[in-house]
């Protein structure tokens, strides 16, 4: 027993220290790459692991720590980070820092340097790495060997450790040769232009750090940073790429002020709420109706019906929604052919919304059916019987006794369903893609888009590039919406407990 204990102890020791070391190494790598937050987070994690598993004696934190670290990193931090991204212009072409953006602009502004004559070179293979290099002389008397990533000076044209290729061997490596760019000091760039000579080029853009402006040394045009993270000339020509910039409340103000964003967004917001409320009411009524009908002791086959009714829960949602989308196809789809109708289910705004509701109802009614069945079965029989003795009709006993009791029991679950309905991404995005798209609007909002699907389209499916900043601002809006509903629901639950 003692020995085994020792084994377990040393295993624990080795495990916790290797985790700490791994976390520290990751932290260093992140800090090296200037990912400050992640570096900091892994540093803290390493500290917490060290403290909780090796120093202190309290048990609960040992069990909770791994879950909480992951919860923070992949659930809470993204939410907080949305709050940060929402105040930036993060989007395609605005993802790097200003320093990187300017370096990239300068590097991409190379033009052939007419004052430098083509330079003769020899291709060579380094024996140790088997990589391709070029050997050349610039200026006269100075010898270099280099490729895109390495540049070394050599005393003379003889390069020990390299195997110089003859002409036909050089031709064989033509494609690799074409990719070589030797970066010289002073921004000069040497590239092979044929199998014998290098072409020199140099950037036309020059950055003046003290004035924070880029100057085109040929045309003399001056580019200055604008407030959206981009270098722009006086004439309005922008240089790409731009950089990530804090834009303050602009994403939010543009939601309010920019008519092209505001109009579709209001429609999306309205449909998000209407869709959720309609769905909850419809699916609750449907489920409750079924529960009342099939909670009938003398119906022998009610268990078979129950199993059939919950089949929608047994099919992977993504797939069943895609099948529905096929069935709803206009004219050629099964539904139109089966009922001999010609409804543009997925392309007419009104019918697309109906189709969405039908599919969502199909997805959710089994759950509602099961929970309302449970709630009805939980109503004590005496209450219903007492009401019958008092002469209440079936309808009255339902309305005055069963319904309030069922609603009271199910209130918390309904709030949770409401929060889910507000974010029913799959049912909408996979059925209609949020479409049909509103005409004449910015972005690609559609008649059946809800906030989450619109956000997804803005961030990952944008016609005008992916706008992470605006998408994050919408996420914040969605957080507020879901939070408000949840708080309202919790409040209601509290007051109901009070009534009890």
């Amino acid at each position: 027993m003692k020995v085994r204990n020792l084994g377990a102890k040393s295993f624990k020791f080795v495990l916790s220290y290797s985790v700490i070391v791994a976390l520290l190494l990751m932290a260093l790598r992140f800090i090296e790459n200037r990912s400050w937050f992640l570096g900091f987070f892994f540093l803290i994690s390493a500290g917490l692991v060290a403290y909780i598993y090796t120093l202190q004696k309290k048990i609960p934190s040992k069990y909770l720590l791994p879950g909480f670290l992951l919860l923070f990193l992949f659930h809470i931090y993204p939410a907080i980070f949305s709050g940060y991204v929402a105040f930036t212009n993060d989007s395609n072409g605005h993802q790097i820092s200003k320093t990187d953006a300017i370096a990239s602009i300068i590097e991409n502004s190379n033009v052939p340097a007419s004052d430098i004559a083509p330079i003769e070179f020899k291709a060579a293979i380094e024996d140790s790495s088997n990589k391709l290099f070029v050997v050349f002389q610039y200026p006269v008397g100075k010898f270099w060997v280099g490729n895109s990533s390495i540049l070394k000076e050599t005393p003379n044209a003889q390069t020990p450790g390299f195997r110089v290729l003859n002409f036909s061997q050089t031709q064989e490596v033509a494609s690799d040769l074409g990719n070589i760019q030797v970066h010289m000091k002073g921004g000069l760039l040497f590239q092979p232009q044929d199998f014998k000579t290098l072409q020199a080029s140099k950037p036309v853009m020059v950055y003046n750090a003290s004035k924070d402006e880029l100057i085109n040394s040929e045309s003399g045009v001056i580019y200055r940073p604008n407030d959206n993270g981009q270098m722009v000339s006086a004439a309005g020509d922008a240089l790409y790429p731009g950089w990530k910039e804090n834009v303050g409340l602009r994403n939010f103000t543009s939601i309010i002020q920019n008519k092209e964003i505001r109009k579709p967004l209001l429609a999306v917001l309205a449909w998000t709420i209407v869709n959720a409320i309609l769905l909850i009411i419809l699916s609750f009524l449907f489920g409750l109706g079924l529960a009342l009908i099939f909670n009938f002791p003398r119906l022998a086959s009610k268990r078979i019906y129950r199993t059939i009714f919950i089949i929608p829960m047994a099919i992977p949602n993504v797939l069943s929604v895609l099948v529905w989308a096929g069935l709803f196809t206009t004219q050629t789809g099964v539904i139109d052919r089966l009922f001999h109708i010609n409804i543009a289910w997925l392309t007419d705004p009104f019918w697309a919304r109906i189709a969405v509701l039908i599919v969502e109802l199909w997805l959710t009614f089994p759950y509602m059916f099961l929970i309302t069945t449970g709630a009805i079965q939980a109503i004590p029989n005496e209450i219903v019987e007492a009401a019958e003795i008092d002469g209440a009709s079936i309808f009255k006993s339902f309305r005055m006794i069963k319904l309030p009791l069922v609603l009271r029991t199910l209130a918390p679950l309904m709030v949770a369903s409401m929060a889910m309905a507000l974010n029913n991404f799959g049912a909408i995005y996979l059925l209609t893609g949020g479409g049909p798209t509103f005409p004449n609007t910015n972005g690609n909002a559609g008649a059946t888009d809800i906030l989450i699907s619109y956000t997804y389209k803005l961030a990952f499916n944008g016609q005008e590039g992916n706008n992470y900043g605006l998408a994050s601002a919408l996420s914040i809006l969605n957080f507020i919406l879901v939070g408000a509903i949840s708080i309202y629901g919790l409040r209601r639950m509290k007051t109901m407990e009070g009534i009890n």
């Binding site: 790459n33 919860l71 980070f81 089949i311 895609l322 529905w324 709630a375 949770a416």
Partner: protein, 295 residues
């Protein structure tokens, strides 16, 4: 004789009045419930593979949709299946381990901050991870710059993301079950000198085995069903996708063309989940029916 026919007729009238319409409602709703499933199955075996000519019972049936699906080099169905299984197994295992580990002290130990922790988990649960999909994408992108295997297009970060959602998903449910295991058992074990880890791994976990089966299966199915975060992190690159994302890319916008092979793939992906679900429905129904009454 008459005294016998009378209750018979009465019974029949009762049947007509109280039972018949229930069967009619049941059949209509039943058809609605299985509607997409039967059409999916019928399309899978319809060799014409056309949406526009599809009949409930296909006139020309065969397996050509399946062979088309398997033979498609650009849409590697079996690679998608493998991706889905790897991700769902790993992430479900992670969710269950993390959830159980967190539920244990929350159910068994009295410590400062216990209530706050439980409330916090409940609140976090209200904000699903997918709301922050945009920033998850940006964060994983940053990960990838330092550690390529943790970057976009890789399965590990996706598994970690789902694992990170574990506390919100399973903790309350598992805690509820742990609460029903009498604490006398672990008190006795403590007196016998068992450590907390021994109690957790040798007493609590084995006793809770049934609930682990159900929760891990629900986690597993939930992850198989996930579309948004999966497509964002793995991207829409042929070999990277899961079954859900892959079949969506396969069919989206080309229902006319790919309907048959898509239905074949969807049917294949549905069968295991469907079987598991029907096998487990007793637990699920009793859980939901009695669970709702408790709430």
């Amino acid at each position: 004789m008459k005294s016998y026919t009378f209750p018979d007729a009465k019974r029949r009238r009762y049947w007509m009045k109280k039972i018949l319409w229930r069967h009619i409602v049941g059949i209509v709703v039943g058809i609605f419930a299985i509607f997409p499933l039967i059409w999916m199955a019928s399309a899978a075996f319809d060799v014409t593979g056309q949406l526009s000519t599809q009949q409930l019972i296909p006139t020309h049936h065969g397996l050509s949709n399946f062979t088309d699906l398997f033979g498609n080099k650009e849409k590697p169905f079996f690679t998608w299946v493998r991706n889905s299984l790897v991700i769902a197994f790993a992430a479900a295992a992670m969710q269950i381990i993390i959830g159980a580990a967190a539920a244990y002290p929350l159910s068994r130990q009295k410590f400062k901050g216990r209530k706050v922790t439980l409330t916090m988990i409940l609140i976090v649960q209200m904000f699903p991870q997918l709301l922050a999909a945009t920033t998850l994408f940006l964060i994983i992108n940053t990960f990838g710059k330092s550690f390529p295997f943790l970057g976009l297009g890789h399965q590990l970060p996706l598994i970690l993301i789902f694992g990170g959602g574990a506390l919100g998903v399973n903790t309350w449910m598992l805690k509820g079950f742990f609460d029903t295991i009498p604490s006398e058992i672990d008190e006795a074990a403590t007196i016998d000198g068992a450590s907390h880890f021994l109690i957790f791994s040798r007493i609590i976990v084995p006793l809770a085995a049934p609930v682990f089966v159900v929760t891990s299966l629900l986690s597993f199915i939930g992850i198989l069903n996930e579309y948004l975060i999966t497509s964002v992190i793995l991207g829409l690159d042929g070999r990277n996708m899961t079954v859900a994302v892959g079949l969506q890319q396969f069919i989206y916008g080309q229902y006319g063309k790919n309907w048959g092979p898509f239905a074949a793939g969807a049917l294949l992906a549905t069968i295991p989940v469907f079987t598991l679900f029907i096998f487990l429905q007793r637990f699920l129904i009793s859980g939901l029916v009695s669970g709702s009454a408790k709430g």
